[in-house]
Amino acid sequence: MILDVNGVEFNYRSKEVLSNIKFHLKKNEILAILGPNGVGKTTLLKCMNSILKPKSGTIMIEEQDVLKLEQIEIARRLGYVPQRCEPARLTAFDAILLGRMPHIKWNISAEDVMLVEDVIKRLKLEDLALRYIDELSGGELQKVGIARALAQNPKLLLLDEPTSSLDLRNQLDILDIVRDVVKNEDVSAIMTMHDLNLAFRYADKFLFLKNGTIFAAGSIADISPQIIEEVYGVPVTIQNYHNVAVVIPV
């Protein structure tokens, strides 16, 4: 068990946004957080690494409560990839090197440079490495964001709508990268998503939010068309196409 979340509540000012959030995640698993716009998917993701402070609850990572750790300690355990990474006049190498920040004291070491080089190789970003990120496409920038999070050497990757505003090729590329990393390394991932079909294709577990709390959770076998209809208000059928579940609105 890499992650155990229990009784997380979050209020925005006095308005209750999330309540009674409880789930767990094993090593090498991908969890997709699903639900309609504004239900609190991103809020939940930001609570995971304490960017937003939950009102109560515990988030245990390898037997340590994230909410009791310093922000820099959290950054050594959780890599966060926001929806949008701002471009600057930095090379992709520099941008990925930033992921070493939680681990360095004064300056980067030769080891940090080697780690970044290693991440670049693993994600096959050699061609981007020396390019300026303000000249990269959205898909390329997203890959740099994931590479930066991986350079943090995290136990858990948090991705906020990693495929939004990307074309089909890049959507698949990004999620292939996430799946490869999670399956081959000592990492798990949580991502918020809108595209149910992509979620079913790549994630191992699913968590549907409705009215600020968990409406349904489980593996693909636990997800019924009724759940999706309840959550999104759209009647659907789930078909099996070559062992991949496909959601079709009816």
Partner: protein, 356 residues
């Protein structure tokens, strides 16, 4: 495979080495301009003799006194003030995530000027003495400095408050800054209207930023503050890079963004306030120099802070030298020249449109 990857690291190291070489070249140029600047004026001194005098040889007592008492402090003041204004600008651009961030565009200089004017009028900190070239002395520079500092901090606090309230968007920052700038300008005008002619002259002369104003002691004080700020900003260079990547990315990397933003603004304002209090308002250096440095060495604060220092020092030194030489035997305050530089640079930034 390893040779290809080794290639990335090698190319990356070449890339960073190039930035370092730009900075070193800039420092060398700064040294050359400094020597040239000391050698020119109403009395021309050969550059070699300038170097000899600076090295401790006494060539002529007149030259000694010109160099040690007049020109060297002015040149060093230009370097230190250029440094201070440029690092304030580069840090504000980062923490406000806004390419137009600078002590000048955010109204902080105007606020400091208002504070100084208030101290001259209300606290009687300034007077004129018409027998010297600059025609103004500040009787009690520390009252003026404190007043300028306090008002710079008030402007900073107001901007930060609105940032907290409405989100740190470029639009909010710039608009609040412009509003504050004109508010404090209005306040200064109000004070000027009720000033007697000695006070008025004192205030107007004060407003024209001039590097010849600082004594060795004042230069020492400004240098200490600028140096501490430079060290502080350099210690935080990774955090500024992280904030450039977006607040959320920075928080995910363990950066306490609000804290970095608050302290960055406080130090940048402090440096601005102290420079403005002693030298008067010197516009646009804080805006232009970081952008010139960005074009050469990019947005990586590991190099950009040092690059902006060199650029700021170099540009203010050049402007100061030109301002002194332009209409001899009179000396034009350097602020007049830098403000002329500001407009075309603003337009250039708008036309290039990068990150605006």
């Amino acid at each position: 495979m390893s040779s290809e990857a080794g290639d990335i690291v090698r190319r990356y190291k070449e890339h960073t080495a190039r930035k370092v070489s730009y900075i070193l070249a800039g420092i060398f140029m700064m040294f050359l301009v400094a020597v040239y600047s000391i050698s020119t004026g109403s009395v021309d001194i050969p550059p070699l003799d300038v170097i000899r005098t600076l090295a401790g040889q006494s060539i002529s007592p007149t030259w000694d006194s010109i160099i040690w008492s007049i020109r060297l402090p002015q040149v060093l003041t230009a370097i230190v003030a250029g440094t201070g204004l440029a690092i304030s600008g580069v840090v504000m651009q980062s923490i406000l995530r806004n390419p137009l961030g600078s002590p000048f565009t955010l109204g902080i200089s105007n606020a400091a000027a208002f504070g100084a004017a208030l101290s001259i009028i209300v606290l009687g900190a300034g007077s004129t003495s018409s027998n010297v070239g600059t025609a103004v002395t500040i009787n009690n520079p520390y009252t003026t400095t404190i007043a300028a500092f306090v008002f710079a901090m008030i402007a900073t606090a107001v901007i930060l408050m609105f940032a907290k309230l409405r989100g740190t968007t470029p639009e909010v920052m710039i608009l609040i800054g412009v509003a504050l700038g004109s508010l404090f300008t209005a306040g200064t005008m109000f004070l000027q209207y009720f000033a007697d002619d000695v006070q008025l002259a004192s205030m107007v002369f004060w407003t024209f930023g001039d590097t010849s104003r600082a004594s060795w002691e004042e230069l020492g004080l400004i240098t200490v503050i600028v140096f501490i700020a430079f060290v502080y900003f350099t210690l935080n260079r990774w955090k500024y890079n992280a904030i450039d990547a977006g607040d959320e990315t920075a928080k995910g990397l363990g950066v306490d963004v609000d804290r970095v933003r608050l302290w960055g603004m406080i130090w940048a304002s402090f440096v601005t306030a102290i420079t403005v209090a002693f030298l008067g308002v010197i516009g646009f250096i804080g805006l232009i120099c970081p952008h010139m440095a960005r074009r050469l060495i990019g947005d990586d604060h590991r190099f950009l802070i040092a690059g902006s220092v060199v650029m700021g020092a170099l540009l203010l030194l050049c402007a100061d030298t030109v301002a002194r030489a332009m209409i001899q035997p009179y000396q034009l305050p350097v602020a007049v020249l830098t403000s002329f530089l500001g407009a075309p640079t603003f337009i250039y930034l708008v036309l290039k449109g990068r990150r605006i």
